[in-house]
């Protein structure tokens, strides 16, 4: 370790970027910041109803109160949905004729974090261009304030989740799923899923449900990100109760991970693969849009159905924008983010659960057998900490180093190794480089990811020797 560099790169306590504004509660994310962002957003969308929802984090009510006051102060009508899944809120924005929506959730981040995420009147997260406008308003801090008679009372609306889950149920073959009387295990991770998913699976899809981490208190008993290594309790529940499948949601209910009937995680790439397969097979053939680092399994599935695959940069809004432009049949991200545009163009763990159960209902094949039916493939992931300003130079260095290989520059640097590939890109949310490698076997994927992690670290050291200096405070999104 070179002198002058801390072991952990400085992580700004408040991060403003494409994923909204996120921060550590009590440090950077205060009622003042939340209220001012709500004022900026209210100014941005104009007078009218604005939906406000939150996940189960203990800081949710405090931020909801500040956001409510902020919206009212600029003449908007806050419409409080309470604790709702992010996809329910997004879908409800156009359904309710609202001007926009604010989601209070740091999604998969740890409990000390929370965030505000902003949706436009179509119920889509802001594109980078729109987000920049919003941040300009925030930084100018000059909001046209409503006088006494222009201030609107907040409203409550409890119909968002029902509308969303009805749309999901109407989209899939509910009768076929109900006929199978699946026994399923659910791990909502103490998030909003705990409030809405058990009933959804029981009442609408006719499942018998075992729930773990089912208290909606937001003091996460499981790591909030539904990575394979966090799904031990879910796997145990599946084995104990003889479940056909296990579902794990993240705290705001947009991402879904799956464990098979033996309790083994199938990997989030396969959540997406299952959903893509079932939509193309049973609902609609059409373009498939996924992020750059999603598994090549998607191409195989799409090719079988005679459909094209379009890749985009990582980030929900990038995928969604491309899906809308191409009238895609299905899409998503390789973090268990399934997007069913017929329900609403956003990541949706409820839609994902339903479409996967629909696939299981088509025959006797088990989850494990379904996974094995797809071409064998393995994905390995690594992270390399890097200071914000170093990242582009590291990526350029990697480009030069692997110049004789096939390169893809859609999102960071993608490098082909025959049929295998590896991608190095900057995180949208953390000061790290994310390395994703895919190969035929787990060992080969891990080796590839390892090689690039080492190459990135070597490049970073080289750059640091050329431009030494203290790490700057704050990171760019």
């Amino acid at each position: 370790m070179t002198a002058g560099r801390t072991a952990e790169p400085v992580r700004a306590a408040l991060k403003v970027g494409i994923s909204g504004v996120r921060g550590v509660v009590g440090e950077a994310l205060t009622p003042q910041v939340a209220a001012a962002f709500a004022q900026a957003f209210g100014t941005f969308v104009g007078h009218g109803p604005v939906l406000v929802g939150r996940d189960t984090r203990p800081s949710g009510p405090m931020l909801e109160a500040a956001v409510t006051a902020g919206l009212q102060s600029v003449g908007c009508t806050p419409v409080r949905l309470g604790r709702v899944p992010t996809p329910s809120l997004l879908r409800h924005v156009p359904a309710a004729g609202a001007r926009g929506g604010i989601v209070i959730s740091a999604s998969h981040n740890a409990a000390p974090w929370n965030a505000l995420k902003f949706a436009d009147r179509r119920g889509l997260f802001l594109t980078p261009a729109l987000a920049e406008e919003l941040f300009d308003l925030y930084h100018q801090q000059d909001f046209p304030l409503a006088a006494e008679p222009e201030i609107r009372e907040p409203r409550e609306d409890e119909t968002a989740v029902r509308g969303h889950l009805e749309a999901v149920a109407a989209y899939v073959d509910t009768a076929a799923i109900r006929a199978r009387r699946f026994r399923v295990a659910l791990d909502p991770g103490n998030g909003v899923g705990a409030l809405h998913a058990p009933d959804f699976l029981r009442e609408r899809l006719g499942c018998a449900v075992t729930v773990v981490h089912g208290e909606p208190h937001g003091r996460f008993e499981r790591e909030p990100e539904p990575l394979p290594e966090h799904l031990g309790a879910l796997g145990e529940a599946v084995r104990r109760d003889g479940c056909a499948i296990g579902f794990a949601q993240d705290p705001d209910g947009d991402r879904l991970a799956i464990v098979d009937e033996t309790g083994a995680p199938i990997g989030e790439d396969f959540t997406l693969a299952f959903a893509v397969r079932q939509v193309l097979a049973a609902h609609r053939r059409g373009p498939v849009v996924v992020n750059e680092t999603a598994s090549r399994v998607i191409e195989g599935i799409a090719a079988e159905a005679g459909c094209a695959v379009v890749r985009t940069r990582t980030g929900e809004i990038h995928v969604v924008a491309e899906m809308l432009a191409r009238d895609a049949a299905v899409g998503g991200e390789n973090i268990g983010g399934v997007i069913l545009p017929a329900v609403h163009p956003c990541r949706d763990s409820f839609g994902a659960m339903a479409i996967v159960l629909e696939m299981l209902a088509t025959g006797p094949r088990t989850v494990r057998a379904w996974r094995d039916a797809f071409p064998r493939t393995a994905v390995a992931k690594r992270k390399v900490p890097v200071r914000g300003p170093e990242a582009p130079a590291v990526l350029r260095e990697l480009r030069r180093r692997y110049a004789d290989r096939p390169l893809r520059l859609l999102d960071g640097v993608g490098i082909g190794f025959g049929d295998d590939w590896v991608c190095v890109r900057r995180s949208n949310t953390e000061p790290i480089l994310r390395i994703t490698a895919e190969a035929d076997t787990a060992a080969a994927a891990a080796r590839l990811a390892g090689e690039l992690a080492e190459a990135a670290e070597t490049a970073r050291r080289k750059i640091e020797t050329q431009h030494p200096g203290p790490p700057p405070r704050g990171e760019k999104g």
């Binding site: 550590v24 509660v25 009590g26 440090e27 205060t30 009622p31 003042q32 939340a34 209220a35 001012a36 004022q39 984090r57 203990p58 800081s59 009510p61 405090m62 931020l63 109160a65 500040a66 409510t68 006051a69 902020g70 009212q72 102060s73 409990a111 000390p112 974090w113 929370n114 304030l145 409503a146 006088a147 006494e148 008679p149 222009e150 201030i151 009372e153 907040p154 003091r219």
Partner: protein, 451 residues
């Protein structure tokens, strides 16, 4: 016009102009830093901006780890009573009180239920100006929960303090005008507890003010017109936070708000003898009363906080202001319009005389209130002119407790810069109406000539 007014116990201003959501959020954060981690009550009135400002204040309190009991729409006196009753560190009240439409305020209450002690309030102001707020992490945040059943202990204590048997026996009918304010949801249980038959005008909670919320005769016309037709024994006109009251007699005569204190204080002194504390521009009726009862009279600067501090310092048994407010520390440390109503009804029941007779028994002073426009910053120059010239009252006794006052044999004149608008307020009182008017006019002219 920027109209934000800071004091150690509150901020007030014009909504969206000077009193912004952000100012209230910061001020509440400063108070929350002071009360960090402890129990704090929160209440608001019915004005259009009050729910918004209460949401901001609630967020600030939770961020500092306070346990917040939210009373929702609640009159000031019930909130203030509930602070010690709930073992709270204090309270935040959002409401316009007697302020005109468009205005609102945030007021801080201390652990005893009185407006926050000035020394504590200065600490809060320092924190506000420094922008240095206590913050708890995600697992140390406070909780925001609705307060439950807070009315019953108040009513129980009020009826016990008043001893309402005589009032109940008298079978009074009263007319109430709570100006669509915070008292509305509480009038039915309150009048039931007092055992009176009540009819309310402007009795539905409303974001808009049906009349000027200051309880004064000129705002009492609609109520006054209904007194005889409805056969009511007394009419009560409340400010929108129910801290102030003016009276209307059974004959339909609206009487000066100065008489509210005189009648209520007289009744309170029948229960306990001791010092009376009023602000320095209250009618001489109260001087007469204290003299007749042989109790000391202490005068303080204007404002509930000062009167309440005076009551505490002097062990006063009753206090108030000529603007129509009364406080009895044995009951609570608040200007309480309901207590005032109870005391007036008790005086009627115990004496067996109608309200018009109680009013008639008071020595009649003529009080004239005038205002002069004056630039916000320069009002102290206006007072200087008066100090120098003392128009019409050169030989009187001067007092500078708050503003400038001169007492003469038949009355007094007082001038004071308004805290809310760029005005100098002049009050002149005399046993002779013409004299009172002439003195007020002379003081107005003196200021106008100097500007």
């Amino acid at each position: 016009m920027k109209t934000l007014r800071l004091s150690p116990f509150g901020l007030r201003g014009f909504t969206g102009d000077s009193l912004t959501m952000r100012a209230v959020l910061d001020y509440a954060s400063a108070f929350a830093s002071f009360a960090a981690g402890r129990r704090v009550l929160l209440a608001r009135d019915t004005r259009g901006s009050s729910a918004m400002l209460a949401a901001a204040a609630g967020s600030a309190l939770v961020a500092a780890g306070c346990e917040v009991l939210d009373l929702g729409i609640c009159p000031a006196p019930i909130l203030q009573f509930s602070v010690p009753a709930n073992g709270a560190e204090g309270a935040i009240l959002i409401g316009g009180g007697h302020l005109a439409a468009g205005w609102n305020s945030i007021q801080l209450v201390g652990p005893d239920g009185a407006p926050l002690d000035p020394l504590a309030g200065e600490t809060v102001l320092d924190l506000y100006h420094a922008g240095a707020f206590a913050r708890r992490g995600w697992d140390g945040l406070g909780r925001l929960q609705p307060a439950e059943a807070f009315l019953a202990p108040y009513l129980e204590a009020l009826t016990r303090h008043l001893g309402v048997a005589a009032v109940r026996r008298a079978g009074f009918r009263v007319l109430l005008d709570p100006v669509g304010g915070a008292a509305c949801p509480f009038l039915a249980p309150l009048t039931r507890a007092l055992g009176v038959d009540a009819v309310a005008v402007n009795g539905e909670p409303s974001a808009y003010l049906a009349r000027d919320p200051e309880p004064r005769p000129r705002n009492a016309r609609p109520l006054a017109a209904m007194m005889r037709p409805l056969g009511a024994h007394a009419g009560f006109l409340f400010s929108s936070d129910a801290s102030r009251v003016s009276l209307v007699t059974e004959e339909g005569e609206p009487v000066s708000e100065e008489m509210s204190l005189a009648i209520a204080a007289d009744q309170a002194l029948r229960r306990a003898q001791g010092p009376v504390v009023v602000n320095c521009c209250t009618s001489r009726m109260i001087d007469d009363l204290a003299a007749a009862r042989g109790v000391p009279l202490i005068k303080t600067p204007v404002g509930q906080a000062h009167v309440m501090a005076g009551l505490a310092d002097e062990d006063g048994v009753v206090g108030g202001e000529g603007s129509g407010s009364v406080a009895v520390p044995a009951f609570s440390r608040a200007f309480d319009g309901f207590l005032l109503m109870g005391l007036v009804l008790e005086a009627m029941a115990v004496s067996g005389r109608p309200l018009s007779a109680l009013v008639g028994a008071l020595r009649r002073y003529h009080i004239v209130k005038r205002t002069v426009r004056w630039s916000a910053g320069g009002s102290y120059r206006a007072l200087d002119v008066l100090r120098e010239r003392r128009p019409d009252v050169r030989d009187g006794r001067a007092d500078e407790t708050d503003g400038f006052r001169v007492d003469v044999a038949d009355g007094w004149v007082h001038a004071r810069a308004s805290r809310t608008v760029p005005l100098v307020r002049i009050i002149s009182e005399s046993t002779d109406r013409a004299v009172a008017e002439a003195r007020a006019e002379a003081w107005v002219r003196a200021i106008e000539e100097a500007s």
